[in-house]
C-alpha cells in the first residue's frame, strides 16, 4: 500500500508522489526529485534543508517535532508554527493524502 503525498512548491507548483510506509517524507521527496528538498545531511536531523510546512489538517497526524528537531528548525529560514523537517516525518498509511508546502527559502 503506497501513501500519497502532495508537495506544493512556493510558487504553487504541485507534485503528488507515492511513498512507501517506513520511509521518511524527505526520502520519498528526494527519490521523486521534488525541487527544493535538499536534505544535505542525509536525514540525520542535522541541516535544516528539508524544511516544510505541514498542512494544518495534517499536523496532529504528522506528529510533533522532537526537541532535537525543534532546535534544528531554529536554524531554518521562514519558520512558522507548522514547520517540520520532513526527514523526521515517517510515512504511514495514516498519512495517505498528506499535504506539505515548501517555504520560500526551499526553492
Amino acid at each position: 500500500m503506497m501513501t500519497r503525498i502532495k508537495f506544493i512548491e512556493h510558487d504553487g507548483a504541485e507534485h503528488v508522489i507515492e511513498a512507501e510506509p517506513g520511509q521518511s517524507v524527505m526520502q520519498a521527496a528526494t527519490f521523486h526529485g521534488i525541487p527544493g528538498i535538499l536534505a544535505d545531511c542525509g536525514g540525520n536531523c542535522a541541516c535544516a534543508t528539508c524544511h516544510v510546512y505541514v498542512d494544518p489538517a495534517w499536523r496532529s497526524r504528522a506528529g510533533e517535532p522532537s526537541k532535537t528537531e525543534r532546535e534544528m528548525i531554529d536554524c531554518a529560514l521562514d519558520v512558522k508554527e507548522e514547520s517540520r523537517l520532513c526527514c523526521q516525518i515517517r510515512v504511514s498509511a495514516e498519512l495517505d493524502g498528506l499535504v506539505v508546502r515548501l517555504p520560500q527559502s526551499q526553492t
Binding site: G33, P35, L38, D40, A46, C47, A48, D74, L77
Partner: protein, 408 residues
Amino acid sequence: MDANIPAHVPSERVRDVDLYNLPGADEDVHLAWKKVQDENPDVFYTPRYGGYWVVTRAALLERIWPDHEAFSSRHISIPRIEGAPPQLPLEADPPVHQYFRAPVSVALSPKAVRTLTDRARALAIELIEGLRPKGRCDFVHEFAAHLPMEIFLSIVDLPSEDREWLIARAQIMTRGAKVEAKQQALGEIFGYLEKWIGQRREHPGEDLISRILQIRVADRPISHQEALSECALVLFGGLDTVAGTMGFIARFLARNPGHRRRLVQEPALIGRAIEELLRRHSIPTIARVLTRDVTLDGVLMKAGDFVQLTTVFHGLDERAWPEPLEVDFERDAHAHMAFGKGVHKCPGSNLARAEIRVFLEEWLKRIPQFSIAPGGDAVTATGAVAGVLNLPLVWPTEAGPVPAAGSR
C-alpha cells in the same frame, strides 16, 4: 611499483594513473580526468602512493558514497599520512561523526548562510568596484580567494584585518612552493588557530570555535587536538574549494560569451546555472578505506584497500549526463555530486552556492564583458582539490578597450 599491487588485484585492472601528475592537468584538469575515465576500466587499481582503487563512473560513486559501513572515512587523503591526527569531522565515522558534525551544520545552516551572504556580498561589491576601473586582474588572487576567507573569519568571529595575512599563507600552501615554505605557512596558520582556541576557551562566545570547544564526544569533552583539527578543517574546507570553483566558472564564462550574455540578460537563471556549472566543474577527490570485502564491477576489493572518489568522474560521466562536457543551463543538474553524498556531504554546500551566486550577480552586473588576457590563460591544478592557480582576466573600461598583451 609492483610491490604496491596486492595479489587479489587482477593484472588487467592495473593502470598507472597519478592523481598529482595528470597529463594535461595544467591546461584543463577536467579534460585530463575525462581522458582517464574514457581510457580505463570503470574500476582500476593504480600502484601510486601505496596503491589504491579508482572508480570512474557515476553509478559506482553513488553506490559507495553513502555506504559508510563498508567504506570508512578514517583515512580520506591520498597519499595516506601515517600517524596524522584525523581531520574532523571528515575522518570520523558514524556514530561518533555526528558529535563533530553538529556544530558545523548549525554554523552553516540556512539561517546562518543568509547572514554570511550579506557579508560576502558587501565584500564582493567592494572588491569588484576596486577592480573595475583597472580593466584587468588576476581573478583568483584579487577576487576569488577573498570571499571564502572573509566568510571563515565571520563564522569564527575574527577580524577582517586578518584576511590578507591568512590568504598569503593559504596561497603558499596550495601553490606548489617548496615543502619547507608550505610547512612554515601551515605552522603559522595552526599557530593562529591555537592562539584563538586558547582565547575562546577563556572567553567563549557564539562563534564556531567556541562551539567546537564545547563539543562532547558521547560522554567526554573534545580534546585539544580534535578541536584544532576541526577548526583547521573549517578554515581550509571552504577556501580553495570555493575559490577554485569560482575560478573555473569565471574561466568558462570568459571563454563562452553566449553563456555569459545569457546570465547577464537573465539573472533569474543564475540559481539553476550554478548547479550545471558545479556539475561540469566539480573539484574534490577524497578517499575511503574498505572495512570488509566488497565486489564492484566484478572486481573483488578487500578490507583495508583504499578507494579514490573523484567528483569530476560523476559530473563528466556520459552515462549519467548526456553530452557531459557541454554546459546547458536548461539541464536539470541538481543531482550532481559536487558536494558528495551521505553523512559526509559537504556541510557548506549552501554557503558555497550562496558565495558563487554573490560572485555571479555582483560581477556580471558590474563587469558584464570580460575575457582571458591576451597571451595568458588559466593555470589549473590536479590534486585532492582541482584548482585554478591563476586566471588573468581583462575587460573594457571607460578609459579604453581591452589592454593589449603584455601592457600593464
